[in-house]
Amino acid sequence: MTQTTAPATGSPSPAPPAHQKDGRTAQRPLAIRLLARPEVGVFLGAVAVYVFFLIAAPPVRDGSSMANILYQSSTIGIMALPVAMLMIGGEFDLSAGVAVITSALTAAMICYQLSMNVWVGVVVALLVSLAVGFLNGWMVVKTGLPSFLITLGTFLILQGVNLAVTKLVTTNVATDDISDMDGFGQAKKVFASSFDVGGVQVKITIVYWLVFAAIATWVLLRTKYGNWVFAVGGNKESARAVGVPVTFTKISLFMLVGFGAWFVGMHQLFTFNTVQSGEGVGQELIYISAAVIGGCLLTGGAGSAIGPVFGAFMFGMVQQGIVYAGWNPDWFKAFLGVMLLGAVLINLWVQRTATRR
């Protein structure tokens, strides 16, 4: 027997004193523990980008500019939230970008073609969006295929249906203007109004964005459902083994993305009065980027709801900041890429430093 260090079973070993640490549960300094949270890296990245543009682009210091940047961030951010939750739940939705347009097209066509109060269109669009989410989730759960494939399919289907149905119904590829119809004013108040804060016009989507983020954070961290989301994203089989309703959780997450698509779709419809059926392509990648920059893993099981808020903010900040700075527009996309990559690297570095033992 060469066993030398392990205590023999049954041999009475003195109980370790309560205050003595074995190294595994060592309390690391608060700052480091904070940094290890998934959203802190992106928070610092966002702060860095913000400070950078405060210096580089004087107009950014103005309140109304900030409102404008936050507005664009919010239209990305509202969708990035459910997309992030879905990613925490271990799935992916490539149809999220065109689904926004599907919802807006549905609402516009239903109320215009049937000459109905616009609220009828709004409600039908919600049902359609939830149904698309349900179908995505149901097919993913039932087939066990990667959601990448399933939602790539829905992405293409929706893209085609958006165009073909719009053309069939309206004989144009854009919907008709519904701004003079009953209920439009009310719906615009709900989805696309703005209010005055100290002389600055603030778009209501910013409020929704932050409220939704707060609700999503609460759900993820404080409710049973939140635990289910992390569990199904971490390991589906063990989650199922301990009694997590995997099917329900995944389908509901896809439907949540549908809800987000509906919400942003309604905002677009009531801001711009009409919708072109070809829009929205490519937006899904921006939502996913915002979630990933915000610390959601592509593999699922980890992430937060507050991270994507900063992710979306960073997107809006960089995109508009370049314009506020008045830089040579030929470099626009390159600037955007460099800034985002830089922010993600800061994020990564912070995480690595913080989680190093």
Partner: protein, 339 residues
């Protein structure tokens, strides 16, 4: 009986849902203003039908699907096809390689004529030569004003983007603008860059270029607002498509700017904006006419041996200015989606 009452209640649910929906319909959910009911019903332009033998024309464009501009081109082509007893096969792909494949496909189908856009002329060169070798008459439209002749196309219908841009630039100078921003919704698009370059050439003031994301309207709106905030001296915004112009109207309001707005291209909502003065003027390259003439010229060539433009000069369809002075005449046609 438990079971039967269950079954009944299950039957009741859909019935109730339908009843509720019907009640909703009747009980004042309908809109008293707007909507299809109030839409003017005008019939599209129609000039009877030719008795010539049926021929097939393939129209192959570089359009991104779902864009109102290309829809108008297609409507023009369909109107001409209906009149000329032509079977129109329409296809499009924004990727130049794919578009070339579509032309090859038309050649394989042995169509009687091809109308093609040469947005990326070099990529189309080989396949255009093949079509000619196969004896298929081929006309160009919309894109490729510099290349149609060297590639041996029969005719060309469209506007010269640089010429149109210059015309806008000159008009802006005449209207007293000093600092214009030209908004490009797709970075690196040859025709769009040419338009802004044209504006710069014709305009005596300062011209800046701004790139925006055409697939994301809220982002587009924010970006134009940002630009107007960054440079308060901008007094003219030039957009390169109708939907972008309508969004830019909101950006100008958001930025609290006094800038005026001029745009390329037209649609029915834009006509209203010109009427109410929120858009100063639009330059129309008449996409309906481009589509119509492309098909019609192939029919004329086949039935009467005509060469539109004499195969020497392009047939220009624009720039036609639409402003307060002539917008009312155009409004009735735009309402049908043909202008």
């Amino acid at each position: 009986m438990d079971r039967s009452s269950h079954a009944r209640s299950r039957r009741i649910v859909p019935v109730a849902a339908v009843a509720a929906a019907a009640a909703l319909l009747v009980a004042g959910c309908s809109s008293s203003s707007g909507g299809k009911q109030s839409e003017e019903s005008g019939s599209a332009a129609s000039a009877g039908k030719a008795g010539t033998p049926r021929m097939t024309v393939a129209m192959i464009t570089h359009a991104v699907p779902g864009d109102t501009f290309w829809d108008t081109i297609r409507k023009g082509a369909e109107a001409a096809a209906a009149k000329d007893n032509v079977k129109l096969v329409y296809s499009s792909d924004p990727n130049a390689g794919n578009q070339a494949n579509l032309v090859q496909n038309a050649i394989d189908q042995k169509v009687d004529g091809i109308a093609v856009t040469l947005a990326k002329p070099d990529a189309m060169k080989d396949v255009v030569a093949k079509a000619k070798a196969a004896g298929i008459p081929i006309v160009g439209f919309n894109g490729g004003v510099d290349d149609w002749k060297s590639q041996g196309l029969l005719s060309y219908f469209g506007q010269d983007e640089t010429v149109a841009g210059e015309a806008i630039g000159r008009k802006l100078s005449a209207l007293g603008a000093k600092n214009a921003v030209c908004v490009i919704q797709e970075q690196g698009h040859v025709a769009l860059e040419a338009r802004c370059a044209g504006v710069k050439k014709g305009f005596t003031g300062k011209t800046q270029i701004l790139y925006v994301n055409g697939a994301d309207m809220p982002a587009l709106k924010s970006t134009i607002t940002a630009k107007l905030t960054q440079d308060k001296t901008i007094d003219e915004v030039v957009t390169l498509g109708a939907p972008y112009a309508l969004t830019a109207v909101q950006s100008i309001a958001d930025a609290g700017s006094k800038a005026k707005l001029a745009t390329f291209d037209l649609n029915k909502d834009l006509v209203k904006a010109v009427q109410n003065g929120s858009i100063q003027f639009a330059v129309d390259q008449q996409p309906y006419l481009q589509g119509y003439l492309s098909v019609d010229s192939l029919w004329l060539y086949k039935t009467n041996g005509n060469y539109s433009g004499g195969s020497e000069e392009p047939v220009l369809t624009g720039p036609a200015f639409v402003d307060k002075t002539n917008v009312d005449t155009i409004a009735t046609f735009a309402a049908k989606g043909t202008r």
